[in-house]
């Protein structure tokens, strides 16, 4: 019958008591025999013989006590060895031998076995490693939440990922995250920014696991939680929320527009390209003929611009306009546009004048988008000014902004027109009759300028002309916000009120 550990103490103390009593009886008996021999054979009187035997008894007690204690304390030694072993005390190399019959009988073996069992259980609880690796409750919990969960350690290695997370195991059996972050706002750039922080949270929108057209493409919103030296070695937790059903239909719309644009751009490429080749091949042409070729070139250029506008509007309409703002000089941006604009002005017989100093403070700008705004405004001024008229482009620093204005001395507009100018597809009755256009240009200009954190305005007097102006922030005034957002414009937009936040263009 197995001995219960609850019996151990009683059995052990009985054993010790019995052993001590037997030893005492034995030793006392020997002392008695010694006293009797001394009295009988050495001629000592009984008191002396008794005294000598007492001395003898003391001497053998001095020798016997350590031996008895040693034997009685053996189970204690076994317990000490067992506890030292499970607590990983490196000074003990040998495990205690618990397989002796007496240990089995007195319950010591059962006691040591219990210590071992408890140690194993506590270790498993610490590592969370039951038979399948994790306690069932934890496993059930992370698998039943409708989000992906990815845990990473301080080296950004994945230490855990649930089934719904966009991850796969590579050939080396390590887990790889399948998320195509934008280069300027990736997981790595965020982690780098967390280096000097204790905690941080970051959100990404519209992060896909695969490129468009690839099988199994899903689109997620992702939230990252960072905690320096977090529990169980986990520093980063990514939670992925599958938003494919919401985002994918918008992508399909875009696919159609992108395809249509591709089909339209092909012939335009050919027309523009061959016109240029033709121009190079033709010699001895009259100024009249040259003017015809110039007009063809300007028109084909404009057509290619319209297609870009349509693509931009479709992109802006369905999604927040994301820009990457860099430190730029307004002077450089305008200078790079001058050759093209001068050609356009020349073909329509307008005089283009620039008053832009190269000493202006640098601005925070997305160069290609801002170039589009400037070209668009100058194009409009050329269109709506009189034959031989002047278009004046100026720039000046104003408070925290650089303001750029484009002034023409053309027909001007009534107030009713001015109020609607920045609406999508708006074209005044008069401009429909006289000037070609889609009514998208100013809508896009407004979107771009406000995405820079600036404002756009117009002032017009009928018969005298029109001035368009817009502001963009001076770089040094927004450098902090840009640095916090990897040069993205989110922080700048978030700090603005009104149109930019409420307009459909900026709703996700």
């Amino acid at each position: 019958m197995a001995v219960k550990i609850s019996d151990f103490y009683n059995k052990y103390t009985s054993e010790v008591v019995a052993a001590v009593m037997l030893t005492e009886v034995f030793l006392t008996s020997i002392a008695g025999v010694v006293a009797w021999i001394l009295w009988q054979y050495s001629g000592l009187d009984p008191l002396s013989a008794f005294t000598y035997s007492l001395v003898f008894l003391m001497v053998i007690h001095v020798v016997a006590t350590p031996i008895i204690v040693n034997i009685a304390a053996r189970p204690l030694k076994v317990l000490w060895q067992a506890i030292a072993r499970v607590s990983n005390d490196s000074t003990l190399t040998q495990p205690p031998n618990i397989n002796l019959p007496q240990y089995e009988k007195n319950g010591l073996k059962a006691l040591v076995q219990t210590i071992y069992d408890l140690a194993v259980q506590s270790e498993q609880a610490e590592q969370g490693s039951a038979a399948d690796g994790r306690p069932a409750l934890f496993q059930a919990l992370v698998e039943s939440v409708p989000v992906g969960i990815i845990a990473l350690n301080d080296k950004a290695d994945v230490v855990y990922a649930n089934t719904l997370s966009p991850t796969h195991k590579n050939s080396g059996d390590s887990v790889v995250i399948e998320l195509n972050f934008e280069k300027t706002d990736s997981l790595d750039t965020w982690l780098a920014s967390c280096q000097n922080k204790l905690r941080d949270t970051h959100t990404w929108h519209r992060v896909a696991n695969k490129l468009p057209g690839e099988e199994g493409r899903r689109i997620f919103d992702v939230v990252g939680y960072y905690r320096k030296r977090g529990e169980a070695g986990i520093e980063i937790i990514l939670v992925t929320i599958d938003r494919t059903s919401e985002y994918a239909p918008q992508e399909e719309d875009m696919d159609f527009i992108a395809l249509a644009a591709h089909e339209l751009r092909g012939p335009i490429t050919v027309i523009r390209g061959y016109l240029e080749l033709l121009g190079q091949d033709l010699h001895d042409i009259t100024p009249d003929q040259q003017q015809l070729i110039d007009r063809l070139q300007v028109s084909s250029e404009r057509l290619s611009g319209y297609i870009n506008n349509i693509l931009n509007v479709s992109r802006y309409d369905r999604n927040h306009l994301k820009l990457h703002l860099q430190e730029e000089r307004a002077y450089d941006i305008i200078a790079s546009l001058i050759p093209d604009l001068a050609l356009r002005a020349k073909t329509q017989n307008r005089k283009l004048t620039f008053h832009v100093a190269d000493t202006l403070p640098t601005i925070a700008a997305d160069r290609s988008s801002l170039s589009e705004v400037i070209s668009n405004l100058i194009d409009n001024a050329i269109k709506y000014s009189k034959d031989g008229g002047e278009v004046v482009v100026s720039a000046a620093a104003k408070d925290k902004f650089v303001e750029l204005t484009v002034q023409d001395f053309g027909m001007g507009m009534p107030g009713s027109v001015v109020g609607n100018l920045f609406n999508k597809f708006y074209r005044s009755h008069r401009s429909r009759q006289t000037v070609s256009g889609t009514g998208l240009g100013l809508y896009i200009c407004k979107a771009i300028v406000e995405s820079h954190g600036g404002t756009i305005w117009v002032r017009s007097v009928e018969g005298e002309g029109t001035t368009f102006g817009f502001t963009v922030p001076i770089y040094s005034t927004v450098a902090d916000k840009l640095a916090a957002d990897n040069n993205g414009n989110q922080a700048i937009i978030d700090s603005k009120e009104g149109w930019i936040k409420n307009h459909a263009m900026f709703r996700r």
Partner: protein, 124 residues
């Protein structure tokens, strides 16, 4: 680097011949290939200083060709690759291509002369 040989992978006959004509006129040795598979095969010979790559191609798309050439190590270290497309890709695909290629241009936005200027800028 000097650019002498150019591989032009372009399925549109008019556009292909337009660039081919303008580039040959400037003295470049141009090979025009009209489908993706053949384009990739030709590119892998590594004998071209510059590869002008369209995206919407029969047989194999430009994205796949670029991935095959530069996705897993650079298989054509002696070639410059410029993506030349009229297809408006979504931001991700565009950035994926831009990160692998040496240039990314919209055909309708440039003329043959502008393309020549860009090629010459590689030679500086």
């Amino acid at each position: 680097m000097t650019i002498k040989t150019i591989l032009l992978i372009e399925d549109d006959l008019f556009i292909g011949e337009m660039y081919s004509r303008s580039l040959s006129h400037e003295g470049y040795q141009v090979k025009l290939v009209k489908d993706g598979s053949e384009g990739l095969k030709e590119a892998l010979t590594g004998t071209y200083d510059l590869i002008l790559l369209d995206v919407m191609l029969p047989e194999k798309r430009g994205t796949e060709i670029l991935r095959a050439l530069r996705g897993d190590g650079d298989k054509v270290p002696n070639s410059r690759i410029v993506v030349l497309t009229n297809f408006e890709q979504d931001e991700e695909s565009k950035m994926a291509m831009q990160s692998k290629a040496d240039g990314y241009l919209i055909k309708a936005d440039i003329t043959p002369r502008r393309l020549l200027e860009i090629i010459k800028s590689f030679e500086v």
